[in-house]
């Protein structure tokens, strides 16, 4: 049976390719771990940048990353959830809603560096925010907005219509229905999507380089108008240097960044599981 043998061979080939892809992920993590694990220490986490690789730390970049992400969330979540509520609960049949929908799908696929150019032209120059935390967070907020809107809509769509109908039957207005009935039910789903969107933003480098986030900031940011740097930019800066000592620093900083991402993703999965148990 030639056909059967060929079929077997094809199946083995496809499985091998799949294993190769998974092996690439393994190699990536093993490589970074091998290069950087020995460099991780409390001093590395709480240290400031230094011209000597062995003294340098990431405190300024770590606090910068967290600060920027918190401000990004404060800007993007209310607007994103509001937009999703409008599209899902209010304007579903209007032409405007359809146009906005197509537009959001397109925005989700625009390269992140283009958002950087928008941030540079709009926030840094036109609105004169300079190269501040606020300018960086505003740029990232526009970047994650489509993702937050899309995931919030999905969470709202999963709310059974009977809950809305029950609320209307008791004489509630549209907004009362949304605020007191729909949003609480959809909240875990919204939170999960938001955390995943923000975990993408925390790894972004290109848009923040484009708006001119500095690589030589030697202090933790102390306000919305403060200059800042973030972990990915610090990693980029260290990778670009020829001295091997800095490349070890880059590997160690990557491990911290990956740990941060893992924590955020674990939180999202935990929320989703809790939510699914509750519904049953």
């Amino acid at each position: 049976m030639r056909g059967r043998a060929l079929d077997r061979a094809f199946q083995v080939l496809a499985l091998l390719v799949l294993c190769l892809a998974l092996a690439a992920l393994g190699a990536l993590i093993a490589d970074v771990w091998r290069d950087g694990a020995a460099r991780l220490s409390w001093d590395f986490l709480t240290g400031f940048p230094s011209r000597r690789a062995e003294n340098a730390g990431i405190w300024h970049a770590l606090t910068g990353s967290i600060f920027v992400i918190v401000v990004t969330a404060a800007l993007a979540v209310p607007i994103g959830v509001g937009a999703a509520i409008y599209l899902e609960e209010y304007g579903t049949r209007s032409v405007a809603a359809r146009v906005i929908e197509i537009n959001i799908a397109n925005l989700a696929a625009v390269p992140s560096i283009i958002y950087g150019l928008l941030g540079l032209g709009l926030f840094v120059r036109a609105l004169a925010m300079g190269r501040s935390v606020l300018a960086g967070a505003s740029t990232l907020a526009l970047l994650v907005l489509p993702v937050i809107i899309l995931s919030t809509r999905e969470a709202l769509r999963a709310v059974p219509p009977s809950i809305r109908e029950g609320s209307y039957a008791l004489g509630a207005t549209k907004w009362q229905t949304v605020w007191y009935q729909v949003l609480p039910v959809a909240m875990p789903g919204i939170l999960t999507g938001t955390i995943l969107a923000l975990s993408r933003a925390i790894g972004e480098t290109a848009p923040l380089i484009t708006i001119g986030a500095l690589t030589f900031v030697a202090f933790a940011p102390d306000g919305l108008w403060s200059p800042f740097t973030v972990l990915p930019i610090q990693i980029f800066n260290w990778v670009s240097r020829p001295q091997p000592g800095f490349q070890v620093n880059a590997a160690a900083a990557i491990l911290v960044l990956l740990a941060l991402l893992l924590t955020m993703n674990a939180a999202a999965i935990w929320l989703r599981d809790r939510y699914q148990k509750k519904l049953r």
């Binding site: 060929l6 304007g91 696929a109 390269p111 928008l118 709009l122 290109a206």
Partner: protein, 299 residues
């Protein structure tokens, strides 16, 4: 259900609706903002550099004493790296998708798919590190005359990055193909391979193509991998072993310097950005159109 407070005055509900609409309009504003910012600076750039020189010139040396503004070397670099990435991601992604959709037991698929998608969630700066300090040294052992910065290493790593995009979306498309088609094929005595390649893949073709175009668009817009590992030398070549520069890497290169606003050099990044935006926009549009067509066929 919770008890409701007394309904507020009649003006409150329309106000809320208008507020929510304003939130939704932020997304329209973003698109308008992108086009406006890019267009204003590009027009100013084209006032000083003829559009024919920009689009068809073969030398890109805007930072030299005698600057030349031919964007073709940057376009060639971008296309070269993206083509290598697609050469990796297409066959691997499609085979993975076929395995997961047609061969893998349900439990395995439920575990492997999310693990594969981790690849798409790794920050791109990490891939840059991997390309420069792991893949390129590995390639140097196989191909002795490859440069420390080259198109091949970052191209391969970029292929790994977009692989889950190809495999996940293609697998979704294959899963959407009705069972009846497969059963008909089996009833005629076809093997699983014949069924996958001659029935399922052709039936899901528009969905798979949409996935691949989206992956290509992602590759063209990808920045950090090439900024770190491909070098910063714009050159018009198809040789993957020498340093090149992509459109995105050029924008990063200029952004790292302190370029004063209003100079021609400052405007180049917006002109290059405009080209990048238009290119990826057309690809995204084509992908969305194909996906819509696929949904109409089997939706």
């Amino acid at each position: 259900m919770r008890r409701l407070p007394r309904a507020r005055s009649r003006g409150f509900e329309p106000l809320i609706e208008r507020l929510l609409l304003a939130c939704a309009l932020v997304s329209i504003g973003t698109t308008a903002g992108i086009i406006l910012v890019l267009a204003v600076e590009t027009v100013a750039f084209l006032r000083e550099v003829p559009i024919t020189e920009f689009l068809f010139g073969t030398e890109w040396t805007p930072l030299f004493a005698t600057p030349r503004f031919g964007v073709l070397p940057l376009v060639a670099g971008t296309v070269l790296v993206s083509a290598i990435a697609m050469a990796v991601a297409l066959p691997m992604g499609l085979l993975s998708a076929i395995y997961l959709s047609e061969y893998a037991p349900h439990g395995l698929r439920r575990i492997v798919k999310p693990v594969l998608e981790i690849l798409a969630g790794v920050p791109t700066v990490v891939y840059g590190y991997f390309a420069l300090l792991f893949v390129t040294p590995l390639l140097q052992r196989l191909i002795p005359d490859i440069a420390g910065f080259n198109a091949l290493g970052p191209g391969i790593v970029m292929g790994i990055m977009i692989l889950p995009l190809v495999s996940s979306l293609s697998e979704d498309a294959m899963q959407a193909v009705p069972r009846g088609l497969r059963e008909g094929s089996y009833a005629l005595g076809a093997t699983r391979m014949q069924t996958s390649l001659r029935v399922v893949v052709p039936a899901a073709f528009s969905g798979i193509t949409a996935a691949c175009i989206l992956a290509a668009s992602r590759a063209i817009g990808e920045t950090m991998i090439v900024a770190i590992a491909a070098g910063q030398q714009p050159r018009l070549t198809w040789n993957p072993l020498v340093p090149i520069e992509t459109m995105t890497a050029y924008i990063v290169q200029v952004s790292l310097g302190d370029t004063p606003q209003g100079t021609l050099e400052y405007r180049t990044i917006f002109a290059v950005g405009m080209l990048l935006f238009l290119g990826t926009f057309l690809l995204n549009l084509a992908s969305a159109w194909l996906r819509e067509r696929f949904r109409e066929e089997y939706g």
